[in-house]
């Protein structure tokens, strides 16, 4: 951050920030919006917002946490905007994301894993966000609480409910 505040090195410092934080932010956003092109757009927006907000960043939280918070908000905003724009009712959003998952040729899922991913897509957006951060990114509840602004207790409950829902959906008929 000191480098960023030095006018002569601001751009260079921001470039380093982008390079360091792109992989975890990409994974988080990709798991939320599914589509690779949409992920690019959202991630770019995240960094542009960060660029605008960084001069006022007070360093109360870690830079990574702050970027994750922007990415979470941007992902959910993007999904809601797309839902409104494409007139996708809430029930069929899962179908829409499933289609995106099917069309994702970059990843070759085995049958069980695809079912697992589809079960995750059935979760509400915020619950899915919490689940992805805990399950895939191995974040602690304290870190997630700082990002989402929710209490640790509520997050534990949310994650527990999410796992139960997924297990129920994975049960053979």
């Amino acid at each position: 951050m000191d480098m960023f505040r030095d006018d002569a090195r601001t751009n260079y410092a921001f470039n380093l920030i982008v390079r360091k934080h792109t992989p975890p932010l990409y994974r988080l956003i990709r798991r939320m919006v599914i589509d690779a092109y949409d992920t690019d757009d959202v991630l770019q927006n995240v960094f542009i917002k960060a660029w605008k907000g960084l001069p006022n960043f007070r360093e109360d939280a870690a830079l990574g946490t702050w970027l994750f918070r922007i990415a979470s908000n941007e992902s959910i905003t993007f999904i809601n905007r797309k839902r409104r724009f494409l007139f996708i009712p809430f029930q069929s959003q899962e179908t829409y994301l499933n289609e995106k998952l099917e069309a994702d040729s970059a990843v070759d899922y085995e049958a069980g894993e695809k079912k697992f991913k589809q079960a995750i897509l059935s979760l509400p957006d915020k619950q899915r966000l919490v689940f992805n951060m805990k399950f895939y990114e191995d974040m602690t509840y304290e870190e997630i609480a700082e990002i989402t602004g929710t209490s640790v207790g509520a997050l534990k409950a949310s994650y527990h409910i999410a796992t139960k829902k997924i297990e129920a959906l994975l049960q053979p008929d």
Binding site: V18, T22, Q44, I48, F135
Partner: protein, 125 residues
């Protein structure tokens, strides 16, 4: 067995790999975007200019629209509105136009004509 233990294989295989090429590409895009925003005209000015231009166009359309009406000044009744045609400056004599008289007898609002005849503008003519 916990949920994590049970589905650990999906956790491992679900790790998305982000290549260095992608990271470089994203850094380039962001850097380009930031530098183009710095050099360009601030967005609020673009909005102000385009908004002013749009308002000016709307006002021009509203102001000049009546001049584009192609009513024949000699017609007593406007062909567009069906109302008495009060645009008589170039019309000459209202009574001399036989076609006008025909229409007048059927459709003219006599009160409007009288009002027009009493108008100062008519006196000038």
């Amino acid at each position: 067995m916990s949920f994590e233990e049970k589905y650990n294989r999906y956790k491992k295989s679900g790790k998305l790999h982000v290549s260095d090429d992608y990271v470089n590409e994203m850094a380039g895009k962001v850097s380009e975007h930031i530098s183009s925003r710095k050099k360009g005209i601030p967005r609020q000015f673009v909005w102000i200019f385009s908004g002013t231009a749009a308002i000016a166009v709307c006002m021009a359309v509203v102001f000049f629209a009546p001049l584009n009406h192609t009513d024949n000044p000699g017609n007593a009744v406007s062909q567009q509105t069906g109302q008495p045609n009060l645009n008589m400056k170039d019309s000459g004599n209202l009574a001399s136009n036989s076609e006008t008289q025909k229409i007048e007898s059927k459709e003219l609002d006599h009160d409007a004509i009288v009002e027009y005849l009493l108008d100062e503008e008519y006196e000038e003519i």
